[in-house]
């Protein structure tokens, strides 16, 4: 299981990495914005992307749209992991191809459950 963790906050990446490692996902790479994420996805295959929404350079939704429109990477599973909590935002992300959606702040149990729902665990 290879996971790409995309978040501009190093704090959040650290918290999420700790939780992921506790639930048995240790093959993790990190990206701090959408541009870096797209580049990493083009370089090697990943099973899942955990994607923040509000980021500089290329935000999460634009990154998701780009992933879904790019041959070779468009079938990777994407779980949005963001503080954007409005229903309209969640619907928008799902319409653009998100496999699941996690609202920050989250507990380790919620992250595990959402990854399971997305077919990862």
């Amino acid at each position: 299981m290879k996971l790409l963790l995309v978040d501009d906050s190093s704090t959040m990446r650290r918290i999420q990495r700790n939780v992921l490692e506790k639930i048995g996902i240790s093959d993790i790479e990190e990206a701090s914005d959408g541009l870096e994420a797209i580049q990493k996805l083009r370089e090697k295959p990943f099973d899942i992307v955990l994607l923040d929404w509000n980021m500089p350079n290329l935000d999460g939704l634009s990154t998701l749209k780009k992933i879904r429109a790019t041959e070779g990477i468009k079938s990777v599973r994407v779980v949005m992991c963001t503080s954007e909590s409005e229903k309209t935002k969640i619907i928008e992300a799902v319409k653009c191809g998100a496999n699941n959606y996690i609202v920050k702040p989250f507990t380790p149990e919620v992250l595990k459950e959402k990854l399971h729902d997305a077919g990862v665990l």
């Binding site: 190093s10 704090t11 509000n54 503080s83 409005e86 609202v103 702040p105």
Partner: protein, 152 residues
Amino acid sequence: MKVEYVNPFITATINTFQTMLNVRLTAEKPALKTLPFPTFDVSGIIGISGDALGSIALSFPRLVALRVVTKILGTTVKIIGPEVSDAVGELTNIVAGNAKKDLGDLHISISLPNVIIGKQHQISNPRGAQSFIVPFKCELGGLALDICLKTE
């Protein structure tokens, strides 16, 4: 600014600290911000646009900021630096993002967080924009939420 817009931010702050730090915050009574403005050492600020214009700020005294970031990262943080800046910015981002869903018909967008680090700084708001201050207490010390929303 309607007082009812303050509550979603209070709830989001309490929820964020409970979930991310396992720390229970107690909110004191919100008050209109008046001169002399309260001073803090570290503040995360998020700009708000859309149906309302303004900002929210989550502000800490230096020692409380260090304790909060130590708790969130699980390692001792002794200096106010990039780790504190990133964590305070992210906490503020999560509070603002969470409050959005409970603002009823008020649809807002939030900016990326900015973090101000400076001993005993004040946060001023645009002329004519009312700001509410909500002090919080917890086992790590005191902090405050500054909510400034200007609606038509």
